[in-house]
């Protein structure tokens, strides 16, 4: 039976860029194990001959004509930004201490 350990949850949370504190890890890890156990029933249901479906309707390569259409103004695009500097999104430093 698949089980997801507290350490694995901490690792996944790290990959997903979510700070989880100890209490959250204690709470979530057992719940995720239960969910995983119940979805694990899917293993072996479909054989190798069954193709995967990523999309319900068979659509491929939807193109539009290459014409200019109006987009957002700079002010509109920046209107929800937490911080703006010289008509740009202002973000914290992107390099960590170790880089």
């Amino acid at each position: 039976m698949p089980e997801i350990t507290r350490d694995e949850v901490a690792h996944l949370a790290n990959l997903a860029r979510i700070d989880l504190d100890d209490a959250e890890l204690d709470h979530l890890a057992p719940q995720l194990s239960v969910i995983l156990e119940s979805v694990a029933s899917i293993n072996g249901v479909a054989g190798d001959d069954v193709p995967p479906t990523s999309h319900a309707l068979p659509l491929t390569n939807v193109f539009r004509d290459d014409v200019v259409t109006p987009g957002l103004t700079v002010e509109q695009a920046l209107s929800g930004a937490p911080e703006v500097d010289q008509q740009r999104f202002s973000v914290p430093r992107i390099l960590g201490d170790e880089q």
Partner: protein, 518 residues
């Protein structure tokens, strides 16, 4: 005849056309109703008094000049808070988007505006549409108008409750695994999930792109059809939008309302009935089947053996897509930004923001999705789920070779108590057992009220599913069942809902809507 909030949208549209009511009056009636009952129901996250009244006044001016934009011009509507609305807050029920005002309209919203429907406000939902009870909203749960201690369904509990509590005649919902149909079932209202690609997803904040679909939430099948005709159709801004003409769903609903089911072949899905389903839900389902047979339908049982794996496939595919989609909430371009002490890097800010901004269920699903997509697990989980999706589509194809529509109860139980399943994800997920297969295969579905369960007096729903692109069958059969049941009941089901206490100071008393129907 005086128009009240209890009229159907079609009746309101007729009254507007007859000149017996104005859009401003209609909109005011609903704003008063919201003021009177929404303290208890909490269907709305944001009410736009000024905007709605301005749009209503514009509608009245148009009509006075002899012009209307659509059959529903002037009839107010509520919109689920997962669709972007220019100038109106859009939170998706999440703290991470608190206070965000989008700079653009979703295509569905743009079409509502272009059709002249005043937008009353934005309705409550489970955070990013993850849930079946609306309890996962960061802004507090919505209460079921039938019993305020119970859930209104989810994720679109706000839209369904708004319509059931007569706070809006129409609403927009979105359905990823049943979020339109299941709330419809537990609130005694109608909800439609169109064919995937039938209604544009542009401006719909994605939960799971390959499953999400916006649709109508109303009190009658005809009202859903009128609304579907307005919001549906090809949109070049959504590359998965179906580029083909659609028939009039309004015509289909009107044809169905005669109740004649001669020549219609209906399949009862074996796997979606029987053990584990509440007795009262099954009793109402069987009565509905009997009525359809009496009206001329041929009913057979159809097996869809892969449906038993639908829930597992869904809870792998959905978290996988959701974990990718929600990566955009990174505290950089919009939404919440939490800056930890010291000299934090962008990554530190992301981690802190996503911890503070996302609720438990969202974190659960992001982590589950991250796991399912990890190398080493991908083939065993996500890959398998995608194959099961193929098997489910094949089950539908085989079934629709035998019958015109498939049916089942919409949800296994009536509305449960708030808090009852909040910390038991698996119990919560089981609510969507019957609705999920349609999303995985992209086929359309409707939930129509089937009556009240004997054991608790709460509404149950009857689900109808049709082949992809054959949405008009939902309206034909749905309207027939609705008309047959309403004849049996002698009045719409919602007339049996208990009267909600009105908040003091509301001027609603002048409309007399609470007392005149009972």
């Amino acid at each position: 005849m005086t128009t009240t909030v209890r009229n159907t949208a079609a009746e309101m549209a007729q009254a507007l056309a007859d000149g017996t009511v104005t859009s401003v009056q209609l909109t005011e009636l609903h704003l008063e109703r919201i003021a009177a009952v929404d303290g208890a129901v909490h269907a709305f996250l944001h009410v736009d008094h000024e905007g709605a009244l301005a749009q209503a006044a514009a509608s009245d001016a148009r009509r006075a000049a002899g012009e209307t934009l659509s059959p529903l011009d002037g009839v107010p509507i509520a919109v689920k808070d997962v669709l972007t609305t220019e100038g109106l807050p859009t939170t998706c029920g999440s703290k991470i988007l608190e206070g965000w005002v989008p700079p653009y309209d979703a295509t569905v919203v743009a079409r509502l505006r272009a059709a002249g429907l005043p937008i009353l406000g934005k309705t409550n939902m489970d955070e990013f549409a993850m849930g079946s009870s609306t309890e996962h909203s960061a802004y507090g749960p919505t209460h079921n108008p039938w019993d305020l201690d119970r859930i209104p369904g989810g994720s679109g509990g706000g839209s369904a409750a708004a319509v059931a509590a007569f706070e809006a005649p129409l609403a927009i919902g979105t359905d990823t695994g049943g979020s339109i149909r299941q709330p419809g079932a537990v609130t005694g209202t109608v909800g439609v999930k169109p064919t995937y690609g039938g209604v544009s997803r542009y401006g719909l904040v994605a939960l799971a792109n390959s499953l999400d679909q916006a649709g109508p939430v109303t009190r009658t099948v005809l009202d859903s059809a009128l609304l579907h005709d307005i919001i549906g159709g090809h949109d070049p801004r959504d590359s998965t939008s179906i580029d083909q003409p659609w028939p009039s769903f309004t015509d289909a609903a009107r044809a169905g309302a005669t109740g004649d089911m001669t020549g219609v072949k209906i399949g009862v899905i074996t796997e979606l009935t029987g053990e584990g389903w509440q007795d009262g839900v099954m009793a109402r389902f069987q009565e509905s089947i009997d009525l359809l047979v009496k009206a001329g339908a041929e009913v057979v049982e159809v097996s869809c053996p892969s449906f038993v794996h639908a829930l597992a496939a869904y809870y792998l595919i959905l978290p996988a897509e959701a974990s990718s989609n929600l990566a955009k909430f990174d505290a950089m371009r919009y939404g919440l930004r939490v800056v930890p002490e010291g000299d934090p890097s962008a990554e530190d800010v992301m981690r802190a923001t996503r911890d503070a901004g996302f609720g438990d269920e969202v974190k659960r699903r992001i982590i589950l999705g991250t796991y399912a997509l990890s190398s080493g697990y991908y083939d065993a989980y996500y890959g398998q789920a995608q194959k099961v999706r193929t098997l489910i589509s094949r089950d539908f194809e085989a079934a629709f070779e035998q019958v015109d529509v498939l049916v089942s109860p919409t949800a296994p139980t009536t509305a449960f108590k708030l808090g009852e399943k909040l910390d038991d994800p698996i119990a919560m997920y089981l609510n969507d057992l019957a609705t999920i297969p349609a999303n995985l295969a992209g086929v359309p579905g409707i939930s129509v009220p089937s009556g009240l369960a004997d054991e608790d007096g709460l509404p149950a729903g009857f689900q109808i599913l049709a082949p992809a692109l054959a949405d008009e069958r939902l309206y034909r059969v749905g309207a027939a069942l609705e008309s047959l049941l309403t004849q049996e009941w002698g009045a719409p089901l919602l007339d049996k809902a208990p009267a909600l206490a009105l908040r003091d100071g509301s001027s609603l008393a002048s409309t007399g809507t609470e007392s005149e129907t009972r």
